[in-house]
């Protein structure tokens, strides 16, 4: 998500970085690139104009500081302006004190309202609320049935008295039903409607009037183009929504519409839908998203996800092992399983600063994780703890046990070996310092640190196996002088070593 936009901006600023003062020409070059990148990212052209004008004004004023060179300064300005457009602060769901609190969803056809309703219900239920789903999409065939199934999947009651008829009535009656069931939150799913269809827009307004929602969420597809502005304005006029849900953000659309909508309507984007599964729904964080656009990674989300799945004991234990380089295949397996709880690997990768880009072409699917798991699980406990004892016969046995080839077993062992070596390095002086310096930092600083936007510090992804080459190609110059990067991929010598055995 937003990858391509961050690529473009990074390419622009790759020239800026490391130079002394910026000439006006350079600034203009950069601005032109920013303009093009934003347009290609489907940001509305009017929004682009305003955006570039603001950047230009601030960049020419050249508020340089001692800490940042002018190139970095522009990155900072662009980042700040992006945050400005995306909404200055994270906006949580506002449920008020009245019961039932009503949330209404509205949007174009196929934007993902019904799915969002299911996801929202799941989220609220996880937070200890008692939601009730209300099926007011009486337009699309089987939409009611779809909501019923989703309700069943997330364990939330669904009020769906009719398959056809007047949705306004259904909406109105749902309040009594909610009181009867003791449901504190009512989520009203409505039919998709075109912004030029006055009759349907009026219906949306009438549904809204009937239930008086505290939150009206406008669901919009992250892939939408220039029309985002027109559509958002029309919906704002009709139902005056309080927040936006950005759906299908797991696609590779550049998602410029998010910028447009936030800018034009002034309403915050509250949620991002990032997958087809019902738990792939998260709070939208403008600052993080802006960071992501600029290739700063999304360390904060990663931290949040890690917090959900790691206990303190586990982490302490791991840290100790890491520092003493006593990391075994067993631990590796456990870590991998933990990590999968954090979400799809591809998504996690995208959150790491600089990584999403370097590994854009690497396909990760959960099936591969399972294969690796299977290989490890086919080993005896002793083998997992001490892989050195794996000789040819044992490897063959393991390969048979998991249905993979012995070569694949070898590859896994080799990778594991490299990872251990790296951990040793990290566990040594430099890594310890890095870790210490990370402690007690506030998350913002940590994000900046890891992304290296302030130059230096942070984790250099080039230090990891299989990535050295890619990083170098991408121009790690942006990352400051953080050392430890292996310029070459060490795989080939490693393989030779294995053969000798």
């Amino acid at each position: 998500m937003f990858d391509a936009l961050s690529d473009r901006l990074e390419a622009v600023f790759a020239n800026f970085r490391g130079r002394g003062a910026l000439t006006e020409d350079q600034v203009n070059d950069g601005l032109r690139e920013i303009r093009l990148a934003l347009l290609e990212a489907d940001v509305n052209f009017k929004v682009v104009k305003a955006f570039v004008a603001r950047i230009s004004e601030r960049a020419v004023g050249a508020e340089t500081s001692e800490a940042l060179n002018p190139g970095q300064q522009i990155v900072k300005i662009v980042h700040e302006e992006l945050v400005n457009i995306l909404g200055r602060m994270s906006a949580p769901l506002e449920l008020g004190s009245r019961s039932p609190a009503v949330i209404m969803l509205a949007g174009l056809q196929g934007s993902g309202k019904t799915t969002a309703a299911g996801k929202l219900a799941r989220l609220l239920r996880k937070r200890g609320r008692q939601p009730l789903l209300v099926a007011c999409d009486l337009q699309r065939p089987a939409a009611v049935q779809q909501l019923r199934i989703l309700g069943e999947q997330v364990g939330v009651p669904v009020y769906a008295p009719v398959e056809s008829g007047d949705p306004v009535e259904v909406a109105r009656d749902s309040l009594a039903e909610a009181r009867r069931l003791g449901a504190g939150v009512v989520i009203v799913d409505t039919a998709g409607r075109t912004n030029v269809d006055e009759e349907m827009m009026d219906q949306a307004a009438r549904i809204k009037a009937a239930v008086d929602p505290i939150e009206t969420l406008f669901v919009i597809d992250a892939m939408i183009g220039q029309e985002a502005v027109t559509v958002a304005k029309a919906f704002q006029e009709a139902v005056d929504f309080t927040g936006v849900v950005l759906s299908k953000l797991d696609g590779d659309a550049r998602g410029g519409a998010a910028l447009s909508v936030a800018e034009v309507t002034g309403r915050p984007i509250k949620f991002a839908s990032v997958g087809e599964k019902l738990d792939e729904f998260e709070a939208f964080h403008p600052d993080r998203m802006a960071g992501r656009i600029l290739g700063m990674g999304d360390v904060l989300t990663l931290i949040e996800k890690a917090e959900e799945v790691y206990t303190k004991e586990q982490a302490d234990d791991m840290q100790a092992k890491l520092l003493k380089a006593q990391f075994t295949l067993e631990d590796f397996l456990a870590q991998m399983q933990q990590m999968r709880k954090m979400g799809p690997l591809q998504g996690l990768l995208g959150m790491l600063p600089g990584v999403g880009k370097a590994l854009k072409d690497v396909d990760l699917d959960e099936g591969q994780v399972k294969q690796v798991e299977a290989i490890i699980q086919s080993m005896t406990l002793e083998e997992r703890r001490n892989p050195a004892i794996l000789n040819g016969r044992r490897k063959k046995r393991v390969a048979r046990g998991c249905g993979r080839s012995p070569q694949e077993v070898n590859e896994l062992l080799r990778s594991f070996d490299e990872m251990r070596k790296m951990m040793k390095q990290l566990g040594g002086t430099k890594g310890l310092e890095a870790m210490k310096s990370m402690r007690g930092m506030d998350p913002q600083d940590l994000a900046a640190q890891m992304s290296g936007i302030d130059g230096g510090g942070g984790l250099d992804m080039g230090a990891f196996p299989g990535m050295g080459g890619q990083r170098a190609a991408v121009g790690a110059g942006a990352r400051g002088p953080a050392g430890g990067g292996r310029p070459q991929n060490k795989r080939i010598p490693a393989r030779k070593k294995k053969k000798r055995r």
């Binding site: 290609e40 797991d250 590779d252 360390v299 870590q335 299989g466």
Partner: protein
């Protein structure tokens, strides 16, 4: 806080090590698609499936109204709730496909049509050219395509010594028409046996709805149509297709939720062939084009389907007209995965301009074959490039005229 940092450092390490592993492993075998042992091939899945659950015949109403024209009036075939609004319109005289197309486009064309027409009213100034660029970008034509189009137009205007705005505009229309020129926009049929169309696209573009409309069109022409509900992922997708099948009088083949879509497609063909149906349409689950696993699944659906049915006569990509530049990426990915032969451009009745199809045809050579213009059973029209371009430049006033009918 700090324990989390440790956790992250570990997670990063493991993740990166794993990626190194995977990317390293991926290279040598160069084996696309999901691992063999995990994915049962379509035929084996069939063998294990309970034959009773395979085919759920919908109401077979093959007779249908036998009007040759696709102008089926809604109320005859459809359920009231969707058609209501259509029916509420005063009895309009039957429109030709082109008129309908323009009428619906007209609603959405106000902005662009008017703006382009007004651009050159002060002559061929630099400002006007910039405005033209902007208008095309605003129509989602895309930056690259717009730059090329406008540059080409400027050169020709100079070469042909055109001085007036009208002249330039006429030339632009001609250029756009040429861009959209393609020899064949028909939906391909088989001379003999059951024609097979595979319908694909990302989530929420209107695949199922388009199939419903297409089914209605062909049953109305007296053909027998079978629909295969190979979207086994989304909740109630098969039910949705069944409802469309009921309305259109087409038989629907489905399995339980979560079934192997390739097996459903395979069954669909078996059922269609056994019934001697004229047309089989296979509905597939929406999938984002960057999910390689799902794209591989789609390739498999096509492969398994074609094993018995022979090559698909059409592989349609359903594209939402509101889609911006990502539409091109979608077309590319689906072209790679299943060799798309045509685009169905849906939701063109909104304000969306659908300009991305120009880039799609320019770069990939995939023509638009159909356009979706609403939620009614007959809101589907053949793509008419002349009407598309004309409508692109039609004035608001003209739309009002049409609306009053």
């Amino acid at each position: 806080m700090e324990f989390v940092v440790a956790g992250i450092v570990i997670a990063v390490l493991v993740l990166v090590a794993f990626v190194g592993l995977v990317s390293g492993r991926r290279r040598p075998p160069a084996e696309p698609g999901p691992p063999r042992e995990r994915a049962p091939s379509g035929s084996t899945a069939l063998d294990t499936a309970d034959p009773d659950t395979l085919v759920t015949p919908g109401p077979v109403d093959l007779g249908g109204p036998t009007t040759a024209e696709p102008e089926v009036t809604g109320p005859e075939v459809a359920e009231p709730e969707v058609i209501e609004r259509e029916a509420a319109r005063p009895e309009a005289p039957p429109l030709t496909a082109r008129e309908r197309f323009r009428l619906r486009l007209g609603r959405s064309r106000g902005g662009l049509g008017a703006s382009i027409a007004g651009i050159f009213h002060r002559g061929l100034t630099d400002e006007a050219w910039d405005d033209l660029e902007e208008s095309l970008i605003a129509a989602d034509v895309g930056v690259d395509a717009t730059m090329e189009l406008v540059e080409g137009l400027r050169d020709r205007v100079k070469a042909e010594n055109i001085r007036t705005g009208e002249g330039a505009l006429a030339l632009l229309k001609e250029v756009l028409r040429l861009e959209l020129l393609v020899s064949d926009r028909t939906l391909h049929r088989r001379g003999e046996g059951t024609t097979v169309w595979l319908v694909t696209g990302v989530n929420g573009t209107g695949k199922t709805t388009s199939i419903g409309k297409l089914a209605a069109r062909h049953t109305a022409a007296g053909e027998s149509v079978v629909l295969a509900a190979a979207d086994t992922f989304r909740a109630a997708a098969a039910e949705q297709l069944e409802l469309w099948g009921e309305r259109a009088g087409a038989r629907v083949v489905r399995q339980s939720a979560g079934a192997d879509p390739a097996a459903v497609a395979f069954d669909g063909y078996q059922a269609a062939r056994a019934a001697g149906a004229d047309l089989l349409m296979v509905d597939t689950a929406g999938r984002l084009q960057n999910k390689s696993e799902l794209m591989a699944e789609l390739s498999k659906v096509k492969r398994v389907l074609e094993r018995d049915a022979g090559p698909c006569d059409e592989v349609l990509l359903v594209l939402d007209a509101t889609t911006g530049q990502n539409g091109l990426a979608q077309a590319k990915a689906f072209l790679d995965a299943v060799a798309v032969t045509g685009v169905v451009l849906t939701k063109l009745d909104g304000t969306a301009k659908g300009g991305i199809v120009i880039a799609i045809q320019r770069q990939l050579g995939i023509p638009v074959k159909l356009v979706g213009l609403g939620e009614g059973l007959d809101d589907l029209a053949d793509f008419d490039p002349d009407a598309f371009v004309d409508a692109l430049f039609s004035e608001v006033a003209q739309d009002v005229d049409l609306d009053e009918r």
